[in-house]
Assembly symmetry: C2
């Protein structure tokens, strides 16, 4: 778990702000739940591994000695949502779109972009079985990633019922399906682990071979397509100066064709299975809708996508970039979860973006505009001597009332010392008040970075600062552009 | 601990947004720390009562069985700040202003405006012993409360060394000082509890009498002054239509005179005590600076203010309104806390506003503008039949790309059914796409609240909605004004 110093917080708020704005544009409404849930609410919802990774809270007071836990820290935002929907059924609309951006806690081993405390940015839709829901979730999460500057992510889709049907068609006994899926979930990071897991589970040789053959045949061609598309996208990012210039429509077409042919193969392989037929139809709709967007996407059906959590019942989805193991986000349909907290079952589907993973990649790729981490204030006001402190204090208050962000330095001192502090903190302007200033009402507006200053009467200070800040803002935008150009050149070089 | 449904979240975000903006105006920078701290970081920092109210987290994995805790939930934002400042000394500036708005957890008995999970909105200044710091904190927190619409709060100031000197001058043994202060801390809610506590602690009769006599003499006149000032302020709120019309300058003068005379009495009572002299001088500076603001405040020295937390070393402060037991916020100086985590001691002072208490009072006083809780979207798009779903999906995406907030209903259905949903959700516009719309490109822009609609070609929809939203915004502002007027009339009536 980490501390976030001011520059980090500003980056996080920048990302959260953009994601939130996109979610709001889709009509998702905000929800917040407590960090702490009753332990029974969480246990058994995430599979055996999940149970172990939940942080459990000791009973309080005289019961503390028992060593027992009755509460636990939120493990994801989906189970609390299901509890809320069951609990507030009469207050919430039948069809409910909500977003929730809050931390969750898992006692997992930390890795790059993975922490024990991390933020999930969730969108969920409750009350509909329409595949419009899945398509909208993909669309919203994609829009958010694109608004942040991502252009090379892929969107993988699969369906739990397709996986079940493929396992059945391979004659793998239902009792060990979930164990095979746990192995499959890790296939992406380490393909060998699946075969190993299957051997350990005791999958019959013939069945295992049938399953793996079907899987590998269909996965290989996609892997090739994906890496070609990602290469093309990163080349295009390097060439294009704006997002709008990017055009990956050809790959979109190739993906759609490949998706169609895979759906046909699955239909053949699993025939006759009504559940598979329905699932194939659903996935087809999702893929078509997701393609049928103003901007083409790299959406494809990936049979190796399994998703670890045990509550999924239908479609499952994930978004990935090549330079991060694991995903930027994922989700799926969980039509039975609300029913665990209520007599009434309510269909539901959701998608979650991982804030820390997004920030990790954005930092590494230098995707943050320089202006995100600004200065702590527009102006620093300080006093030369203790007698001037009340005047400096009131002056700072006056400027703030006019909308300036003013840092008042609490210690009296000479302008040279104050200048060093203001400069080191990146504060663009400084005014030091001493006896002279108090007597004459004339102030010296200093730019700490360049020494020297401009003498002005007190009542002209605000407009002078405003004007210079406006100029500086333009300079900063130029700097951001220069910075973006430099990144582009770096990429071009690396490509050669 | 509570769930926050969309309307609640929007209110919370409104309040947090205003507080943040005020804090930023003062040059405070954002910091975030994890919800979970090592248990040793927290234990022993809040006094014995605090130790018991900390939520403790069980060890994980094989150690879970031990029933031992190694982690704990954040109890306030001050101790984590002290840890951060000690830990990142080289990365942080010597003089550091930070704000932090995050939840904390206490296993306390819930009451009105008091919850087990609650948000603190903290500002702290590190690295200076100047009383400018205290005055700035009072000023920032007051500005935040005023920006939210509060005008009748009082600001109470005291100093731990003044309390110690008064206890010494009363011949109360130092060993039982802290026990007396705990009793004093509760005096405000229940004056009888102090005498009872003093009897239980075993304060010698003579000493107790001396202490109580001095205290009561000086407290009574303030209580009277405060209630008169609050009455006047609430009358003025009822009379004034804008905050600017309020003028409580007379009371400000009365407070200042009373403060001066109390400081003199304390000086006399505690003579000769160097610590008291210094503390009196400090408090005098704070009170003078806080008065020396563009807008007068109701700041006064209150000898009954003790503050529960054990880490305070100097000035202590609290802000109160008459209709809430407890405080809207409080703080003080804690010059030794950073030193507990580091060899180097760093002076520090902070103030914390309680989000939930502020919201409780704002709800009861109906201080939220109606427009805070808006509609989930500008427009709802829906489809009449399944064949129109892809068109509706793409259309929604196009409108969002042009900046509208669009809720796409995932189920096909007739316009009457869709209209009911949109109306009940308060969505101002609706478009349903069917075969006719697909063929002609002519859409009907419906206002669900009033039935009927306007036929428009597809490319004119955005500008039509924009125009009507602008008109509606003006209507809403009028509604807010009418609402505010109604509240005023209600108050006037209650006053008669």
């Amino acid at each position: 778990m980490r501390d976030f110093l001011p520059a980090d917080v500003r980056k996080r708020e920048y990302v959260i702000g953009i994601i939130k704005e996109v979610y709001e544009r889709y009509g998702f409404e905000p929800l917040e739940t407590p960090a702490v849930e009753n332990i029974e609410t969480l246990m058994g919802k995430y599979g055996e591994e999940g149970n172990q990774l939940i942080f459990k809270i000791l009973k309080r007071g005289e019961h503390e000695k028992s060593g027992e836990a009755d509460l636990a820290l939120r493990y994801d935002l989906t189970v609390p949502l299901a509890r809320v929907v069951a609990q507030y059924q009469n207050e919430l609309p039948k069809f409910f779109k909500r977003y929730q951006i809050q931390p969750v806690w898992r006692a997992d081993r930390p890795a790059r972009g993975r922490f024990r405390e991390f933020y999930q940015c969730d969108v969920d839709v409750l009350g509909s079985r329409s595949m419009i829901v899945e398509a909208e979730l993909i669309s919203a999460a994609s829009d958010a990633l694109e608004a942040l500057g991502f252009n090379d992510f892929t969107i993988r889709v699969n369906h739990r019922n397709i996986l079940t049907a493929v396992l059945n068609a391979s004659n793998i006994p239902p009792a060990i399906h979930s164990a095979v899926l746990i192995g499959l979930d890790k296939y992406d990071k380490n393909p060998g682990s699946l075969t190993e897991a299957m051997a350990n589970i005791g999958v019959p040789y013939e069945s295992g071979l049938k399953f793996l053959t079907f899987l590998l045949e269909n996965v290989t061609r996609f892997k090739d397509l994906v890496s070609r598309a990602q290469e093309a996208a990163s080349r295009q990012i390097a060439d294009a100066t704006t997002v709008e210039e990017l055009d990956v429509v050809d790959f979109s077409r190739l993906f759609m064709d490949a998706n169609e042919s895979l759906l046909d193969r699955i239909a053949g392989f699993t025939f006759p299975s009504l559940a598979a037929e329905k699932a194939i139809e659903d996935v087809r709709k999702v893929l078509q809708l997701a393609e049928n967007r103003t901007k083409p996407r790299r959406v494809f059906l990936d049979l190796t996508l399994a998703r670890g959590l045990s509550y999924y019942t239908g479609t499952i989805m994930e978004m990935n970039v090549a330079d991060l193991p694991g995903s930027l986000g994922g989700g799926g349909r969980y039509d039975n979860l609300v029913g665990m907290f209520s007599k009434q079952s309510i269909p539901a589907c959701g998608f979650s973006l991982g804030l820390e993973r997004i920030i990790t990649v954005m930092n590494e790729r230098k995707m943050f505009p320089l202006s995100v981490v600004g200065s702590p204030a527009d102006l620093m006001v300080a006093s030369f001597d203790d007698e001037s402190q009340p005047v400096a204090f009131t002056f700072a208050a006056e400027l703030r009332a006019q909308g300036l962000r003013v840092l008042l330095h609490p210690e009296s001192g000479n302008p040279g010392k104050h200048r060093v502090y203001a400069r080191d903190r990146g504060i663009p302007f400084m005014i030091v008040i001493g006896e002279n200033e108090r007597q004459t009402g004339q102030l010296i507006l200093v730019e700490p970075r360049i020494r020297g200053g401009q003498q002005l009467p007190k009542n002209e200070i605000v407009s002078a600062i405003r004007q210079r800040l406006e100029e500086k803002k333009k300079e900063r935008e130029m700097e951001d552009k220069t910075f973006a150009d430099a990144i582009k050149q770096e990429r071009d070089k690396a490509d050669q």
